[in-house]
Structures are given as structure tokens and as C-alpha cells.
Amino acid sequence: MDRSKTYFITNSIRIKNEKFLQKKETILSFDPEISFPQFLKDSYKKLELNYPKYHKMDSLCKLGILGASLLLKNQNFTEDTALVFSNRSSSHDIDLKHQRSMENIVSPAVFVYTLPNIVLGEISIKYKLQSENVFFIEDKFNPDLLVDYSEGLLNSGKATSVVCGWLELKNDEYDVLLCLVSNNGKIPFTKVNLEELYRFENE
């Protein structure tokens, strides 16, 4: 196992406070008063995703697709790009929606999203990634876990690049950081650098 190798944060996308940041630059922002459903709709239009499946997805998947679309745009990556995601609230919002429907008519189109890893499936489908997937639940953004696990996948040859990060959604409050990690780039893939990218929009 080659442990000496350094990997880089090739690209990163932050979604928070009605804004999209690429690395530390704001690339798209909306009126802070915009509702969350409207934010998801308008972002789709602005980013010209042209991916009709998007409209069937729950909000967590929509956030993941928005983030991944910006993250992977014009990037080189292979089908063994692993997905290492985490959040605090699992599939909370859609869980509540399913829970409320249980008194009346339950919809399979809602129930299927009541697992946090469905977004990994949606991203895999859109980008044809047949790769390692994991969804961790953590109390808070945990760069140690993401770096240790992703480096393990890269060093052992289970993946040649990784999309890792934090995709949190609870009661329409969202907090997203996605990073593409590979051999290319200038920012070393370290816990400190990952933490800094996450903290940047939280200051």
C-alpha cells in the first residue's frame, strides 16, 4: 500500500445561505428571502441542468445533484470515482413527509427517498459512476473521517478519485460542501484544508 502519496482537492462546491461557492468564490447567489423550494427550482434553471429527472427527486437529492453538477463540470474523472458522503440528519425531511402520509395514502415515490444513500445512486446514474459508495451519519462536519476513509480508498486502489463531503438538510435548512479529490490540483487534500473550505462560508 502506497501511503506516501499526496492527493489534491481538485475542485470544491459550497452551498449555503442561498449561495453557491466554487472554492472560495461566490459563483451564484439568490435573495436571502427566497424560499427553499424556490431556491432549488431557480438554481436548476440558472445552472441550466436540463435533467428532467431532477424534478422527481426529494430535496436532499436535488441539493446533491446541484452540487455534483457544478463540482464535476469540465472535470476529468473515471467511472471508479468513489462517493463518500456524510450528514447529521440522514433523510430527515422526506422521512417526515412519509410519516405524515402514513395516515392517508403512502407513495412509493416518496418512500424510496427515505434513505440518505439514495442521492449516491442519483449521482451515480447521472455521471455513470460504478464505484464505491458510502453514506456516514456524523454529529458534525468531520474532516478526519472524510480524509481517512477517502485516502484509504485511493491508497488501496479501490478508487482513482473521490467525491467526498457533507450534504446536510433539516427542516429546509441546508449546508453543503462537496470536494473532488484526485491526483490533480494545488490544494493538498488535508483535514485542515477541508475544514477551512467548510468554515469559509460559516464565518
Binding site: M1, E79, L83, R88, S89, S90, H92, D95, L96, H98, Q99, M102, V106, S107, P108, F111, V112, T114, L115, P116, N117, I118, V119, L120, G121, E122, S124, I125, Y127, K128, L129, Q130, S131, E132, N133, V134, F135, F136, I137, E138, D139, N142, L145, D148, Y149, E151, G152, L153, N155, S156, K158
Partner: protein
């Protein structure tokens, strides 16, 4: 570095220890029974449900059952049983927790518990505090491969030096939340599920918890190693398996590659076998593509039902004991083969020298998992 699967425990309708579970399996006893439920036109459904009062009786030896949910009691009991027989320093032991829905039954009505008790974070905190684990728990929620993936994750973290020993625990319940969802998919069987059979008509749900010690420290002579593991997403559909078994086939290939083994060296295959039409068909296709059509194969779902985030851990533990005991356990409720490709279903208990086994699982979101277990002696 050998990653060893050591002391384990299963808490299920079949018993409160691994040995009780295996005794029931050998006797052909199923945990699936008819349970009344007004959601169903015929008044109920078949599921594997742990008896609450029996559980509370067992739990009273280690804690106050009124202070813990049913799932917590099951998961805590399973860990306690592993810790009883092993001196572990919990200040440096990893804790990996697998569950798809945790205490989701508290989401609508938290009863006498705090409102956030339904969350997976709270479940992890309860488990961590009960025993005094010092390291931050690692929670995996990756649909129906979670329980096996948690073992693979423990291995991977041991390999990068995060810890030497890890307790992996998994658990899920039969809740109205999940039952109503699978019912809306028309995925529930009208009878106890019949994996790989011609007349299979869906899954039976089940609940269980299990725990295992994963370590690179040798403890007993009879160790089984995890020598290869891989997950591959189908990248095809979020709720239906790939028609070609692509992700499962690829994960088997990658696990074999890591283990430096060939398909013909596999002595036994523990399948996912949920008994839905599409899943079992997909598995048969993937196993054929991988050259595993002659390998004795079973599904444990006829004994337990589908225990979701617990299933792949329970089945890994049973696979481990198959190897240790040199026993092939029958695929319960199997009748006539009902998949388009030949596979070699185990229909009766058989003693046979076994060295290497393959465990597979697949789940919603298009995820697939393959793990290779090998006798380390």
C-alpha cells in the same frame, strides 16, 4: 495484515445469542409469523418480530428496559455479549454502527423519550455512553448493504491505523414507517418469503440486531479473515436492481481481486435473496456472469425476513459460522427454482469441508456489496 472476524452475537426472533440462532436454523425453525396489522386487507402480514417482554427480561440483566427503546435494547444486548467474552480497552476501540432507520418509530410520537431520540445520532450516543466508548462512533446508513459495509469499513479503518479493534453493531426494527412503504411498493409477500423460488412474491420484513468484534489482534485459534470487500453502484435505477447484475458482478470481481482468489475457489455463497422477482433474478444473473453457478448458495431471509441494516451483518456472522462448523445451512422456504439462470440452492443441512465463502448484498440506491471470508487456519 489479516483482518479477523471474532466474537459475535445475534439478537433476533430465533434467539438471544449466535448459538441459539444457529440451533434454530439447523432445526429449520423460522422467525416469520403472522402479525395482525390493519393496513392489510387480510388483517395482517408475515414478519420476524422480537418478543418485547422476552427482550426486556434479557435486558434487565444489564439495564433498565424502561429507559431504552426496543432497538436500543437489542443493539446494547448484542454488544454486551461480545464484550463479556473479551477484555477490550474501550478508550481505543472503534465503534461502527449500522442502521437504515434507527428509532424511526419515534418520529411521529416520541412517547416518553426526548424528541430527538428518533435520530441516528442519538442512537449512536446512547450506545457510546452505555459502554463508555471514547472514540467518536462511525455511523453507516447505506440501505440494505449497511450491515456488511460496516464490517468492511471497520477493516479499512484498521488498515489505515485508526484503531486495532472495532465493535461493529447493526440493528433495525419492523416499524409501521417501513411496512407502509414496502406495502406501497407492493413488495411484501402474502406468505413467509420464498427466496429464489418460482412462486416467490416479495419480501417478508424482519427485525434483529447483531454485533461482531473485528480486529487485527489474534485472539483465538479459530479465526476467520475478511480478505476482500468491495461496493459498486449499479448506476442504473434507485429502487430497482440492474437487469444485468452489473454492480453486483463488478463488486464480486473486485472483492476476488483484493483477496487474490478465483471464483472457482469459493466453497459457499451467502446471497442477499430477498425474494422479490427482480432482486433474485438479478443475483442469479450476476452469479452466473461471475462463474458461481455451481457454488452452494442460500438466502437466510426465509428464517429472518429482511432485517434491512442488520441483514448483511447477521448473514456475515452466519457465513463465518458456516466456515467454522463446516456446515451448509438450507435456504428455507425454497421450492422450485424460479430464476432464469441456474444456481445451486442448498436444500438440506450438509456437512462439508469449507474454506472460503462469499457474502453479497444489494440495496436501494443501486448499491451492491461483496465480501470474501477465509479460514485463517
Amino acid at each position: 495484515m489479516d483482518i479477523l472476524l471474532q466474537e459475535d452475537s445475534i439478537i433476533s426472533p430465533l434467539g438471544f445469542s449466535t448459538s441459539e440462532n444457529i440451533k434454530a436454523i439447523k432445526a429449520g425453525v423460522s422467525g416469520l409469523h403472522f402479525h395482525e396489522n390493519s393496513r392489510f386487507l387480510n388483517g395482517g402480514f408475515y414478519a420476524g418480530i422480537v418478543d418485547k417482554s422476552l427482550l426486556a427480561e434479557h435486558f434487565s440483566k444489564i439495564g433498565d428496559s424502561s429507559k431504552f427503546t426496543k432497538l436500543e435494547q437489542m443493539m446494547l444486548l448484542s454488544i454486551q455479549s461480545v464484550l463479556n467474552n473479551n477484555q477490550l480497552d474501550l478508550s481505543e476501540t472503534g465503534l461502527v454502527i449500522s442502521s437504515t432507520k434507527g428509532n424511526v418509530d419515534l418520529l411521529g410520537d416520541s412517547r416518553n423519550f426526548s424528541k430527538d431520540r428518533a435520530s441516528l445520532i442519538s442512537l449512536a450516543k446512547i450506545i457510546q455512553d452505555f459502554f463508555g466508548f471514547k472514540l467518536q462512533p462511525i455511523i453507516v446508513s447505506n440501505a440494505c448493504v449497511s450491515g456488511g459495509l460496516a464490517v468492511a469499513i471497520a477493516k479499512r479503518f484498521i488498515q489505515v491505523g485508526k484503531f486495532t479493534d472495532a465493535i461493529v453493531v447493526a440493528g433495525d426494527l419492523v416499524t409501521d414507517f417501513v411496512t407502509s412503504g414496502f406495502q406501497s411498493f407492493q413488495a411484501l409477500s402474502a406468505t413467509p418469503c420464498k427466496p429464489f423460488s418460482k412462486n416467490r412474491d416479495g419480501i417478508s420484513l424482519g427485525e434483529a440486531a447483531a454485533a461482531i468484534l473485528v480486529s487485527r489482534r489474534e485472539r483465538k485459534a479459530n479465526n476467520i479473515s475478511l480478505v476482500g470487500d468491495a461496493t459498486v453502484n449499479d448506476a442504473n435505477h434507485i429502487s430497482g436492481p440492474s437487469r444485468t447484475g452489473e454492480g453486483l458482478y463488478k463488486s464480486i470481481q473486485l472483492a476476488l481481486k483484493e483477496a487474490k482468489l478465483a471464483a472457482l475457489e469459493i466453497d459457499y455463497l451467502s446471497a442477499h435473496g430477498t425474494a422479490t422477482l427482480f432482486n433474485d433474478e438479478m443475483e442469479a444473473i450476476a452469479f452466473n456472469r461471475a462463474g458461481l453457478e455451481h457454488v452452494p448458495v442460500n438466502s437466510f431471509k426465509g428464517f429472518y425476513g429482511h432485517t434491512l441494516g442488520a441483514s448483511a451483518l447477521i448473514e456475515t456472522i452466519l457465513t463465518k459460522h458456516s466456515l467454522l462448523n463446516n456446515e451448509l445451512y438450507p435456504s428455507l422456504n425454497f421450492e422450485e427454482l424460479g430464476v432464469s439462470k441456474p444456481i445451486n440452492i442448498i436444500d438440506k443441512l450438509e456437512k462439508r469441508e469449507l474454506k472460503i465463502a462469499l457474502k453479497t448484498a444489494s440495496g436501494f440506491g443501486g448499491c451492491n456489496l461483496a465480501m470474501i471470508l477465509k479460514k485463517a487456519f
